[in-house]
């Protein structure tokens, strides 16, 4: 639901554009400010081995390349409820810190601590209880560009608590880059058939017979849901909203990003 609500408005506009207007797009050059010294943290612990990873980087200038701007030399740890800190040593990739043996347990709280040149960032996340993904399949719908197959994921939402979900879709091993998050505000206790949207409505993103689809289904906590929902308010670079803002982070100390303790399940199917 959440997902649909946020994708409808551009859809209307798209329709309007198609039929009414002689609209066009041009790449232009703008003079933009320097970002200053701003850290970005993407940290997670999952219920699987090899799931504990922290990516530490810095915001780059708009005109720089898009490569990950990893920051070395940080002291990174994740602490469980007993107060035991587990160190995540830096890997051979600059800015990536990992502890392959660290695995979270649902309903437990985890605390992240990142220290680098006089700065300390902390965050807490509680790993939600697992909701089982039942099935994934393709279903045809006609929206603005004719018939198209959309991946749907079914799961039974538990009625007794608030649940938050995130989905990753991979087509033939390639991440579609669509950000799909949802909660159970409108679907509490229901058998939910969540539709996954393409990143863009182009010919290339249409699913074809024989495509191998993998969906990663994450149970996330409320703060992470809020983070991704607020990403849609601007961090994707569209100014459809009046004033884009940085996403709402659960990290204290002034970093952009999030620390998420989540469960993760994979489900695969082949388009027939």
């Amino acid at each position: 639901m959440m997902e649909k609500k946020y994708t409808l408005n551009p859809a209307f506009l798209l329709v309007a554009l198609l039929f009414l207007l002689t609209g066009c797009e041009d790449v232009i050059t703008l003079k933009l400010d320097e970002p200053g010294d701003q850290y970005v943290i993407e940290a997670q612990i999952t219920d699987q081995l090899k799931g504990a990873q922290v990516a530490l980087s810095k915001v780059k200038n708009f005109n720089a390349d898009n490569h990950f701007n990893g920051q070395s030399g940080a002291l990174v740890s994740i602490e469980d409820e007993s107060g035991t800190p587990y160190i995540l040593p830096e890997t051979s990739t600059k800015g990536i810190y990992r502890n392959d043996l660290l695995k979270g347990i649902p309903s437990k709280a985890y605390k992240l601590k990142v220290q680098i040149v006089g700065k300390t960032f902390t965050a807490t996340s509680i790993m939600p209880q697992k909701v089982v993904a039942q099935n994934a399949f393709a279903f045809e719908l006609s929206l603005f560009d004719g018939p198209r197959l959309f991946t749907h994921v079914t799961y039974l939402d538990p009625v007794d608590r608030e649940n938050y979900y995130r989905f990753f879709e991979y087509v033939n091993g390639v991440y579609t880059k669509t950000i799909t998050v949802t909660d159970d505000e409108f679907t509490n206790g229901k058998l939910v058939k969540q539709m996954l949207w393409p990143n863009e409505f182009t010919e290339e993103t249409k699913l074809k017979k024989g495509d191998e689809i993998k969906v990663e289904f994450l149970n996330i906590d409320k703060n992470i849901f809020k983070y991704w929902k607020s990403v849609k308010d601007g961090a994707l670079g569209s100014s459809g909203n009046a004033s884009p803002v940085n996403p709402v982070s659960n990290i204290s100390g002034g970093a952009i990003g999030y620390f998420s303790a989540h469960t993760i399940q994979s489900i695969e199917y082949t388009v027939k």
Binding site: M1, L8, A16, L17, F19, L20, L21, T22, G23, C24, E25, D26, V27, I28, T29, L30, L32, D33, E34, P35, Q38, E42, S57, K58, V59, N61, F62, N66, F139, L141, S142, L143, F144, D145, G146, Y175, K177, E185, F186, G189, K190, L191, K193, Q194, Y227, K229, S230, D233, G234, A235, L236, G237, S238, S239, N241, A242, S243, P244, V248, G257
Partner: protein, 773 residues
């Protein structure tokens, strides 16, 4: 100023000293007609008194004059000027019959009636535009949308390319009181804001109050857009119509009972979807997109002193993507007005009306179905008196009462759907206002209008109301029963306007106005969206309050051929609302936890130079302005530019009508780009790029400018039948104005990012055919 106030205030509350004026003053009254039908708002200039008077909607006028000789000078558009002198020595009736001026009937040129800015009237900050004037402005798709036409006037800004949304003097689009024949319209836009709900064929004129709103208006912060619709013809049947690229229109007018009652019914339907159906692409031709409007009005004269007016409006948009997705939204309105003249000096106007706006979204994927419905309904009662207490003094007073019902959202679903039914709490409130306003000609050339409005907004049960701390956490929930008063917000709104005539051609004016607003529109988009939601004041959401100070200088030249005026204003705004970062805007039961309140300020200088007579007419308008907000929790609590902040705005409209078959028009507009937030950097996460923002609205969109051209060609006139062809070219030199600037990974090389400008309209030609018989 204080002594003036001291003199006026007792007038409001005490009996009126009639007898003081009784000696030597006589009442002259009468009708102005075209010979067949009454003419409303005709200007009458009478020698010996400074103020012009105007006929009312029944064509009736009345004036108190001292004994002696007076010359009446009557002017109305489309009619020959008439002068007549009268020796006043007793109460008397004097009727005027104006002769149609055939030369000016179809003219673009507008002279006195609508357009004369009355130098001696303290009312400032107003712009009037009649449909006849709108004809002289080339508009997009050839659609003569009055809300787009007024965007060429100073202080009134377009909310977006090609759109009908409006910002007035730094306010937001939800702060305009849009009235269709005195009934408020909640969402005055069609088709994502590209059209307004005002069918050009049904509109008579518009008056925009940017400041100094007369005290009978209340409930919105930044302006009143008072649109008057056409009335029927009590003499003969008439048919008007038009066929355009986007829409067709048909209007029928005629008598119900000759000379006593009339009707008008006007319809417009767009057929964008008819064009869609022509598309060979089956993925496109199943989509639906259209809107329609139906306006109706009936006037009944009941004897010499009474008149009943019924108006109705129905309009809706429908948008559908095949069978999967449907969206319907629209307004419904109805009103019944009774005008009664007690005596030649006192009249009363009583109106009961309904206005409703609703929005319905239906999704049916085959796996799931869900409908979302929201609605706002107003029942209004208005009762207003107009009392000409003397030749120097006019008094208006009255009350109005609105019962609001807001249904913020209801979700329904059938069968094996993923969705639970949800019904957010309906909100009820009663908005009452009493007002009194006195227009006083203190001495020749010195006029004061002083008014006072008391507004009382009562929030009614039943329902749960939240108390929220500054961090947005719920502190307490209070439950109220049906009909229980949750809270009443009282506000006193003083209105004061003063004018002083320097000489016959020049005047200066000053005004102060306070406005309050209890129905809030928090929109995070620039254009009107069907999903825009109105939020009534609550325990946490306080009334918005604005105070505006204005001063201006006005001058007419060359026997009113030219007009020049300059106005300045300073406005402060309290309790301005915005969403918190990452707000959930859908759940209205918890909306108080998702919003922030702060303050605003706006100031500016507006110039207007107009040529009103001759073959060549038009105007130049320039606005220098600033509008800012300061909200704790946004932009580190510092002042920031409101999105609609534009430093410079220049526009010009020129019409040339040699009185032959062809007439031509052109307009040009230039403004500083809107204040906007662009990224200050970017970062990589999950293998994709995200953008980083530092301060709010510190960048500018590129400057906007555009030239539009228009031409009208009169086809052969036959008896009782006339028609014309209208051509327009929007954005004649094809300027690529930025509708939006977005940022993304480059399609060619995903390792870099690019800024992309989206342009909507480049060279939009249109042609339409209009007829009348």
């Amino acid at each position: 100023m204080r002594s003036v106030l001291l003199k006026i205030i007792p007038l409001f509350f005490l009996a009126f000293p009639f007898t003081l004026f009784a000696q030597q003053v006589f009442t002259i009254s009468g009708m102005v007609t075209s010979g067949t039908e009454p003419l409303e708002r005709v200007s009458i200039k009478i020698s010996g008194i400074k103020q012009r008077i105007y006929t009312d909607s029944l064509g009736f006028y009345e004036v108190k004059l001292k004994a002696g000789n007076h010359v009446f000078d009557i002017t109305a558009v489309g009619f020959k000027e008439k002068k007549q002198s009268l020796m006043v020595k007793q109460d008397q009736t004097l009727n005027f019959e104006l002769e149609e001026d055939l030369n000016t009937l179809n003219e673009v040129v507008v002279s006195s009636r609508m357009n004369e800015r009355k130098l001696e009237n303290p009312q400032m900050g107003t712009e009037k535009l009649s449909m006849k004037e709108v004809r002289s402005i080339p508009l997009i798709f050839g659609e003569r949308d009055i809300l787009k036409a007024i965007q060429f006037l100073p202080g009134i800004k377009s909310a977006g390319e090609g759109g009908a949304g409006i910002y007035v003097r730094g306010g937001s689009s939800g702060q305009n009181l849009v009235l269709m024949d005195d009934v408020p319209v909640y969402n005055a836009s069609h088709l994502m804001g590209f059209f307004s709900t005002f069918n050009p064929d049904a509109v008579e004129d518009i008056t925009v109050y940017k400041t100094g709103m007369p005290a009978q208006f209340g409930g919105r912060l930044s302006s009143v857009l008072d649109v008057k619709m056409k009335q029927g013809n009590a003499e003969k049947f008439e048919v008007d119509g038009g066929i355009g690229l986007i829409s067709s229109k048909l209007t029928l007018k005629g008598p119900i009972q000759k000379e006593k009652s009339s009707f008008i019914i006007s319809g417009r339907r767009t057929y964008v979807d008819a064009l869609i159906r022509l598309s060979p692409d089956s993925s496109i031709n199943k989509n639906i997109m259209y809107f329609y409007d139906v306006n109706g009005r009936a006037d009944f004269k009941l004897g010499e002193r009474d008149k009943l007016i019924f108006t109705g409006y129905l309009g809706a948009d429908k948008l559908g993507l095949a069978e999967t997705f449907g969206l319907t939204w629209g307004n419904k309105q109805a009103s019944l007005q009774w005008q009664h003249l007690f005596s030649s000096a006192l009249s009363v106007n009583t109106t009961a009306s309904y206005t409703g706006y609703q929005n319905k979204i239906a999704v049916n994927t085959g796996l799931d179905n869900v409908q979302i419905f929201s609605q706002i309904k107003d029942l209004t009662f208005k009762h207003q008196y107009f009392w000409q207490t003397s030749a120097q003094n006019q008094l208006k007073f009255g009350l109005n009462s609105i019962y609001h019902t807001v249904k913020p959202g209801q979700i329904t679903s059938e069968g094996q759907s993923s969705y639970n039914p949800i019904n957010y709490q309906e909100r009820y409130s009663l908005e009452n206002g009493i007002f009194v306003s006195d227009e006083w000609n203190i001495s020749p050339g010195f006029n004061v209008t002083a008014g006072l409005r008391l507004s009382a907004f009562s929030i009614l049960g039943k329902g749960d109301f939240l108390l929220v701390d500054p961090q947005g956490n719920i502190v307490d929930t209070k439950t109220y029963k049906s009909g229980q008063i949750v809270k009443t917000y009282f506000n006193l709104e003083p209105r004061l306007a003063i004018s002083y005539l320097l000489d016959n051609d020049q005047s200066v004016k000053m005004s102060y106005v306070r406005n309050t607003q209890n129905m809030h529109l928090i929109s995070n988009s620039t254009s009107g969206r069907p999903s825009d939601k109105w939020l009534p004041s609550s325990l946490m959401v306080k009334p918005e309050i604005s105070d505006q100070y204005s001063a201006g200088y006005y001058r007419n030249f060359r026997d009113n051929t030219f007009e020049f005026n300059v106005e300045s204003y300073y406005k402060t705004m309290q309790n301005q609302l915005d969403y918190r970062d990452g707000a959930d805007t859908f759940n209205s039961d918890n909306i108080e936890t998702q919003i922030l309140a702060g303050k605003g300020r706006a100031y500016g200088l507006e110039f207007l130079f107009k040529k009103k007579k001759g073959k060549l007419t038009g105007w130049l308008s320039y606005t220098l302005s600033k509008t800012e907000r300061k909200i704790e929790g946004i932009n580190q609590g510092d002042w920031y530019n409101a999105r609609q902040d534009r430093t410079h705005e220049f526009s010009t409209v020129v019409a040339y009508d040699p009185g032959k078959k062809w007439s031509f028009s052109a307009s040009w507009i230039y403004y500083t780009g809107d204040a906007i937030t662009f990224p200050a950097g970017k970062y990589n996460m999950d293998g994709r790029t995200f953008f980083y923002y530092s301060s709010r609205n510190s960048y500018r969109m590129p400057a906007y400018h555009r030239l539009d051209l228009g031409a009208n060609y009169k086809l052969k006139q036959r008896k009782n039948f006339s028609s014309e062809l209208s051509f327009s070219l929007y954005n004649a030199y094809g300027r690529k104005n930025a509708y939006a600037i977005t940022f993304r990974e480059s399609e060619k090389d995903p390792s870099v990012t690019e800024a992309v400008r989206t342009t909507l309209f480049k060279f939009v030609p249109s042609v339409s055919y209009n007829f009348k018989f």
